[in-house]
């Protein structure tokens, strides 16, 4: 039997890894993928706890997370493409128009 904390710790680890990626990488796409990593780690936690508590609610949460993640990726990638079209870069550090 796999202990519950194992899943939870794995989720935490993946989340931290994703966080490092968001903070450290400059390529917008890789940052995006790190965000997806974080989302997935949360999904894992949901599913594990759903199994632990015997309730379907956790899995439903994952269901909706996946839906919304999909939409988010679509819109986010469209934005990244637009930025690339006007500025020919996907370096996050170049996008500093809000500086002030």
């Amino acid at each position: 039997m796999v202990p519950l904390p194992a899943y939870l710790v794995l989720g935490a680890l993946l989340f931290s890894l994703g966080m490092i990626g968001v903070l450290v990488r400059r390529n917008a796409l890789i940052v995006f993928m790190s965000i997806e990593l974080m989302l997935n780690s949360v999904n894992l936690t949901f599913v594990a706890l759903s199994r632990h508590l015997g309730s379907m609610d956790g899995q439903l949460a994952v269901f909706f997370t996946i839906v919304v993640a999909g939409v988010e990726v679509v819109v986010g990638l469209a934005i990244i493409v637009e930025i690339f079209r006007s500025r020919a870069t996907v370096n996050l550090d170049d996008v500093d128009l809000l500086r002030g």
């Binding site: 966080m19 968001v22 903070l23 400059r26 940052v31 996050l92 550090d93 500093d96 500086r99 002030g100």
Partner: protein
């Protein structure tokens, strides 16, 4: 209060509104009609109030002015014996002067503005004498000060006029500051500002409070009524139109101080106050008379004369004879206004020349004016049967009683000597102005009827006014006022003819000296005495040399280190603080997404730490 009585101050106020707003567009006849008509209505209402006066004081509340918790002040009017006398005098003399102004100001550009201001003044003065509480009185007090400023500086494009208006206002302000402190003191001591209540409860005040309050109020009166030491504005106030000088600076506004003391009479009965008020009054009377003796500007002679006569009135209330003071106030209004109007007629004939060096020989061409001036002058000199004699003599009698009754002899002595000097200077002025033909090419002509009739009426009043105080026919004015001044010093019957004979002698001697001593249109050479008088006994040197520089130094100190250094720095400092704070916070906005993410992370960690430790 009789229903029309409270309208007395209202008519001139309406006149001011109408003339002020649309007067410029109205024809001159209409402006004159409105300007004089409102005062006529006020006078009619005053006469009716006297006729229907039931004997007891009447009150009326106009509206609640301030209602703040325990402190509430009503704007109310009071009609009692004293206020009836004042209202009749103010509106009556005021009406005559308004009519005179129609002729005097006929050529002036700002005709409607003049009458608007004059009406505002009438409304303010009537409010002052009809006010029921000290606050309403003070409102009127300040308003007449404002009107004085406006009217002295009526020809504001003349620098001297503008400066004189400002000087009047500022000097008055000094007195008003003391006045206000006195009002506050009374409020905190008695809890009320109602004039009758103050009078009734004055005896309950301890001596220190009573003396302090009365002296503070008296200081305000010295400012408004041009007594020592705040007299300097009145001679310069002659820059204004002559009718203004007649009305404001002879008959009405300057008498407000005397009225105020008479109104609050029980407050001024302490021996210390008695000494101060009567001594200041007597000194001022003497002091101003000596200066009038060496002045060459005819209106300034009148101005110093007014200061001197006001000194007599303060002398009277000082020795606890307020009825005598009010009596002299009334007769002085008659003959001083008459003198000023006559001087105005001279100016009108001589194209605004008022320097007595170049006047003279006007008795024949300006017959009526000369007659008016002579009548007024004789009254001023205290020659019977003119009214001035009766009122001045009454004051001297009271001063005498005060002296023999244990008080200081100074008021009586100074009063008697001043009577002599007064007769001299007014005779001198009459001689220089109307007699001794000089060389002249122009032909002066008499004033128009609209200016002459008020002078005639005032002359009649000057002659007949003595009857108001004549003992033979029961002294109607004094009897009328008697119940008002129950706290006044009781006086024995007149001490025989001793004092009247002395005062008549002084007057006659003065006229003789004045007539004979100034024959060659030259002042006799009095050497250092003349210099003393013309330098105002070196008082002005004291002011300019000591007081003014000290005040300036304080002002510089406040403007520099205090205002700029402390206040401005504090205010700017707050602004700089905000700007600096914003500048610091701005450095957070780098535009780097990753930095923002990092900050979010830091915040989240802190939150989790907080939750973890709870």
């Amino acid at each position: 209060m009789a229903d029309f009585a409270w309208t007395i101050p209202l008519w001139p106020l309406l006149g001011w509104l109408v003339l002020g707003l649309v007067g410029g567009r109205l024809p001159r006849r209409l402006v004159a009609l409105i300007g004089c008509g409102t005062v006529a209505l006020a006078f009619a209402a005053a006469v009716a109030a006297r006729a229907t006066f039931p004997g007891e004081p009447q009150e009326r509340t106009l509206f609640t002015w301030i209602a703040a918790g325990a402190f509430s002040v009503d704007a109310g009017l009071l009609l009692d014996r004293l206020s009836i006398v004042m209202v009749l005098m103010v509106s009556g003399v005021g009406l005559l002067i308004h009519i005179y102004s129609v002729g005097y100001m006929a050529e002036d550009r700002a005709y409607s503005r003049y009458f608007a201001y004059l009406n505002l003044f009438m409304a303010s003065m009537l409010l002052l004498v009809m006010g029921r509480s000290l606050l309403v009185l003070f409102v009127g007090w300040e308003l007449v000060g404002l009107c004085s400023y406006l009217l002295i500086g009526f020809w504001f494009d003349r620098e001297r006029a503008a400066n004189s208006g400002r000087k009047a206002f500022v000097v008055n302000r000094i007195g008003d500051a003391a006045f206000l402190i006195g009002v506050l003191l009374l409020w905190t001591s008695l809890g009320t500002l109602d004039l009758r209540a103050i009078g009734a409860q004055a005896a309950t005040l301890g001596p220190p409070v009573m003396v302090t309050a009365s002296l503070l109020l008296f200081t305000g009166a010295t400012g408004k009524s041009a007594q020592l030491p705040l007299y300097t504005w009145l001679p310069d106030a002659m820059e204004g139109p002559t009718p203004v000088s007649a009305l404001i600076h002879a008959a009405t506004m300057v008498t407000a101080g005397v009225y105020m003391i008479a109104r609050l009479f029980p407050l001024f009965t302490h021996p210390v106050t008695v000494v101060v008020v009567s001594t200041v009054g007597a000194l001022t009377a003497f002091f101003a008379a000596t200066i009038a003796l060496v002045e060459w500007d005819m209106k300034r002679v009148m101005a110093y004369s007014t200061i001197s006569q006001l000194g007599y009135m303060f002398l009277a209330v000082g020795v606890l004879a307020p009825a005598a003071g009010i009596f002299h106030l009334t007769t002085h209004a008659f003959f001083k206004a008459l003198l000023f109007l006559a001087a105005g007629s001279v100016m009108h004939a001589m194209h605004n020349v008022i320097d007595m060096h170049v006047l003279g020989g006007l008795a024949r061409p300006l017959r009526y004016t000369a007659g008016a001036f002579i009548i007024g002058g004789l009254a001023l000199a205290g020659i019977p049967p003119f009214s001035g004699f009766f009122s001045k003599d009454l004051i001297l009698e009271r001063a005498w009683e005060h002296a023999v009754g244990g008080g200081s002899p100074v008021p009586f002595i100074l009063g008697l000597v001043t009577a002599l000097v007064t007769a001299v200077y007014i005779t001198r002025a009459a001689r220089y102005a109307f007699f001794d033909q000089p060389h002249r090419e122009s032909h002066p002509h008499e004033a128009p009827p609209v200016m002459l009739w008020p002078m005639v009426l005032l002359a009649l009043l000057t002659v007949a006014g003595g009857l108001l105080g004549a003992q033979r026919i029961g002294a109607p004015l004094l009897e009328f006022l008697a119940p008002q001044f129950a706290a006044a010093a009781p006086h024995e019957a007149a001490p025989g003819l001793f004092v009247p004979v002395l005062s008549i002698l002084a007057g006659v001697a003065g006229v003789a000296i004045g007539w004979l001593g100034y024959r060659d249109r030259r002042d006799p050479d009095l050497g250092w005495v003349a210099r003393l008088f013309s330098r105002h006994w070196y008082l002005l040197d004291l002011y300019d040399g000591v007081l003014v520089p000290a005040a300036k130094r304080v002002a510089v100190l406040l403007a520099g280190p205090v205002d700029l250094g402390v206040i401005d720095r504090a205010v700017n400092g707050i602004g700089a603080l905000a700007a600096g704070g914003a500048r610091g916070l701005r450095r957070l906005q780098t535009g780097y997404v990753r930095q923002y993410a990092a900050i979010i992370l830091v915040g989240t960690i802190l939150l989790m730490a907080y939750w973890a430790t709870r």
